[in-house]
């Protein structure tokens, strides 16, 4: 298998972990996906530099770091240093395998009904910010922020309960 195909395989395997990292810094699903694609391109271009047996995620994150830096600087003029990314990456290292959570989350999502589900569609499918959702619904930004926070908390509680039940 060529280096490029091998890297493509690794990218597919670690897609969730890398996307979550990008999303943590730039919480917009479309932007995170775009940056992920750019990271893939660079990773495959630099495939020969990756040494088998070393930590692929750490290697790919160094590419992601540069993409994030560039995007932040261009979009909002914010600059962040390596210490910022070092701390963040070790926090992401402590997150359990996202694939395990996805099935539980899918099931929990079924319990989310109309109003909240619509909020999720606006936030994640259309990429609307809290302010844009507030404009669309006539609600206050504070109440949109509060509802999205509640949805997260309820889903997290549900996911953790399901995972612990499955392990019990």
């Amino acid at each position: 298998m060529s280096d490029a195909a091998h890297i493509a395989q690794l990218v597919v395997k670690h897609r969730h972990g890398l996307l979550a990292y990008l999303y943590g810094v730039l919480p917009d699903a479309h932007v995170a996906e775009d940056l992920f694609q750019e990271v893939c391109v660079v990773a495959v271009q630099k495939a020969a530099e990756f040494q088998d047996g070393t930590n692929f995620v750490a290697w790919a994150r160094t590419i992601a770091r540069n993409k994030l830096r560039e995007h932040l600087r261009r979009r909002s003029g914010i600059t962040v240093d390596d210490a910022f990314f070092d701390g963040l990456e070790s926090a992401f290292d402590g997150v359990p395998n996202p694939d395990v959570r996805k099935d539980a989350l899918r099931r929990c999502l079924g319990g989310i009904q109309d109003r909240a589900r619509q909020m999720l569609v606006w936030r994640y499918e259309e990429g609307l910010t809290a302010a844009a959702i507030a404009d669309r619904t006539g609600a206050s930004r504070a109440s949109v922020n509060s509802l999205l926070q509640r949805v997260r908390e309820i889903l997290r509680e549900c996911v953790e309960r399901r995972i612990s039940e499955a392990r019990a």
């Binding site: 990218v11 775009d34 959570r101 609307l128």
Partner: protein
């Protein structure tokens, strides 16, 4: 993590920070490992959530704002990987075809998830996952209904379905439904397999089913029987009540409630012990019963009851508790604020001895919009065990809806139940050891010696508190309570009481205890089958139940009350 950090974190995830706030948030991230951990955890869920929302896309695709190019070589490499996955993942035809989908269901084929749609021909290796939806699959001689919140994988050209969790109903001959604990083979059968984390249940409505488990003898169950499997325990069997019969009884019960709709919202003056007697209606109870019966939210009576429940003040403990239970089951997010109000009323009204009395605090408090519901006042000195069990189950519902309850409130309630358990393992209406706590006005009917509904209340309450606090201190009390229930269980009366005395309240509370504890039996008694058979025999031709006898409940509209309770029992096993 302080409240300000938490607020910034969530607003960051909502795309709500301006540039200055964003920079401040990044600075806080750099200095707080806890904040970083929380961000990592939430961002992971957000990313998955975003994928799931896009998989179940409901609106027109949003325009992509940027990025359209991927160099050809990279695209080719990714496509090659994807093609390999698809080719390797593609299985043989199962012959099964999707004929109906209600609600949301997903087909996972290889690494690709897509909405499940009627007409799709299914292949070996396909996984069907439903959340709030159902799917019907068919091939000649076989009908498979994949129920809500279920995940099933198709194998062996459709002769074998692997049930990962949830419920599948199947009508087939020879079909194998496997699960973690074993497998069930249908023989000209109409059967249900229900896989939960703690147990698997196989029911044969018609025909027979062969149940196999590694290292255990094979078992045949005939029409009208179930087999229940738990890890490391013998398979138990019992009889079922046919779902079609129960469904018909529930439907007729709902029609009766519909015919009495004005009685559902007429205020009744409740019992009085301390202070003013609270007023309540049957709206909360009827709302919960209709919801359990599967009545859609668009139903005019259900909508009217929901409006009535949310549109007036809550005076009684029964009302607050039942309202929390109903709203939490209907939609915990949409009704979050109202459930929080119920939780706050219950918490602020707890008696000093750990019980609850009939009334909740009348002054509607300013309920904090978020965070733990804390005790801010004390209720009266004492109440009774019946209303206390409703309050505890109401708080349990609030907690399961994501609202954190002051742990001291639950601990105080637990201490009360442990203190007033009788020596025989049962419970009475109050603490037999404390004459001052007796309710003099009711003493002739409600005794402090053990009886069925009070004991079921004690077991259900302690089990609900243990479910929330994972505290083993009540284990022994629950075990002894279950022994009492096993030794005294009856469906034709509230055990150790006169016939008709709060009879259906007993059955419903016993069912609650059974459901919270995940047990099918009290002693040798299969509580659901026995209770359901009693209710099938006692339903009147008009669809109502009126089982209550004697004067104790004379202020109630017992036909409405008993019909609601009967529906709650029949649909309590979910």
């Amino acid at each position: 993590m302080n409240a300000e950090e938490k607020d910034l974190l969530h607003r960051h995830l909502n795309g709500d920070l301006d540039v200055a706030e964003q920079a401040a948030f990044f600075a806080q991230l750099q200095s707080s490992p806890e904040l970083r951990r929380e961000l990592a955890s939430l961002a992971t869920d957000e990313m998955l959530l975003s994928e799931l929302v896009l998989e179940g896309r409901t609106a027109a695709p949003a325009p992509r704002r940027t990025r359209t190019w991927i160099p050809g070589a990279i695209a080719a490499a990714l496509l090659l990987g994807l093609s390999l996955i698809l080719i390797l993942g593609r299985g043989a035809s199962t012959g099964l075809r999707v004929v109906a989908v209600a609600g949301a269901a997903t087909l996972q084929r290889g690494d690709i998830d897509q909405p499940l749609r009627p007409g799709i021909a299914l292949l070996d290796g396909d996984r069907i996952a439903t959340a709030k939806g159902r799917a019907t699959l068919e091939k000649p001689g076989t009908v498979v209904e994949v129920q809500d919140d279920t995940s099933v994988v198709l194998r062996d050209r459709g002769a074998h379905l692997r049930l990962e969790h949830g419920i599948v109903d199947a009508r087939a001959d020879g079909l194998v439904l496997s699960f973690e604990l074993g497998a069930a083979q249908l023989r000209k059968a109409n059967a249900r397999v229900d896989v939960a984390p703690d147990r698997t249940r196989v029911e044969a409505e018609e025909g027979s089913v062969v149940v196999e488990r590694a290292d255990w003898p094979q078992l045949d169950i005939a029409a009208g029987e179930y087999a229940r499997m738990e890890p490391l325990q013998r398979t138990t069997t019992g009889r079922i009540v046919r779902r079609a019969i129960v469904d018909d009884a529930v439907r007729r019960g709902c029609a009766f409630l519909e015919s009495r709709r004005s009685d559902l919202v007429v205020p009744i003056t409740s019992e009085k012990r301390h202070g003013t007697a609270p007023r309540r209606t049957y709206a909360e109870l009827a709302l919960l019963a209709l919801h359990r019966a599967g009545i859609p939210d668009s139903d005019p009576l259900k909508a009217e009851l929901l409006g009535s429940v949310k549109g007036r003040s809550v005076d009684s403990t029964y009302g607050a508790a039942l309202q929390a239970m109903a709203l939490a089951e209907i939609d915990p997010l949409a009704h979050h604020d109202r459930i929080r109000l119920c939780a706050q009323l219950l918490v602020d009204s707890q008696c000093r001895n750990g019980q609850w009395d009939y009334a909740v605090k009348l002054a509607v408090p300013d309920v904090p919009a978020a965070g733990r519901i804390r005790r801010r006042s004390e209720g009266p000195a004492a109440g009774d065990n019946s209303v206390t069990s409703y309050a505890v189950l109401g708080l349990h519902a609030c907690s399961r809806a994501g609202i954190e309850i002051d742990p001291d409130v639950l601990a105080r309630a637990r201490a009360w139940w442990l203190q007033c358990q009788n020596g025989d393992g049962g419970w009475g209406y109050n603490d037999a050891g404390d004459a001052a706590a007796n309710d003099a006005s009711r003493r002739t009917a409600t005794t402090n010696s053990s009886y069925g509904s009070a004991t079921a209340s004690g077991v259900a309450s302690l089990a609900a508190i243990r479910d929330l606090q994972k505290d083993p201190r009540s284990d022994d009390a629950i075990r002894r309570g279950l022994q009492w229930l096993g030794g005294n269980f009856a469906v034709d009366r509230n055990p150790r009481k006169d016939p008709g005395f709060v009879h259906l309240h007993w059955l419903v509370t016993a069912a609650r205890a059974g459901v919270v504890l995940g047990t099918e039996r009290f002693g040798a008694h299969d509580w659901y089958a026995e209770g359901a058979e009693f209710l099938m025999g006692s339903q009147r031709p008009t669809g109502q139940w009126t089982v209550e006898q004697g004067d104790f409940m004379k202020a109630e509209r017992n036909d409405v009350l008993d019909t609601c309770l009967a529906i709650l029992f029949l649909r309590n096993r979910r």
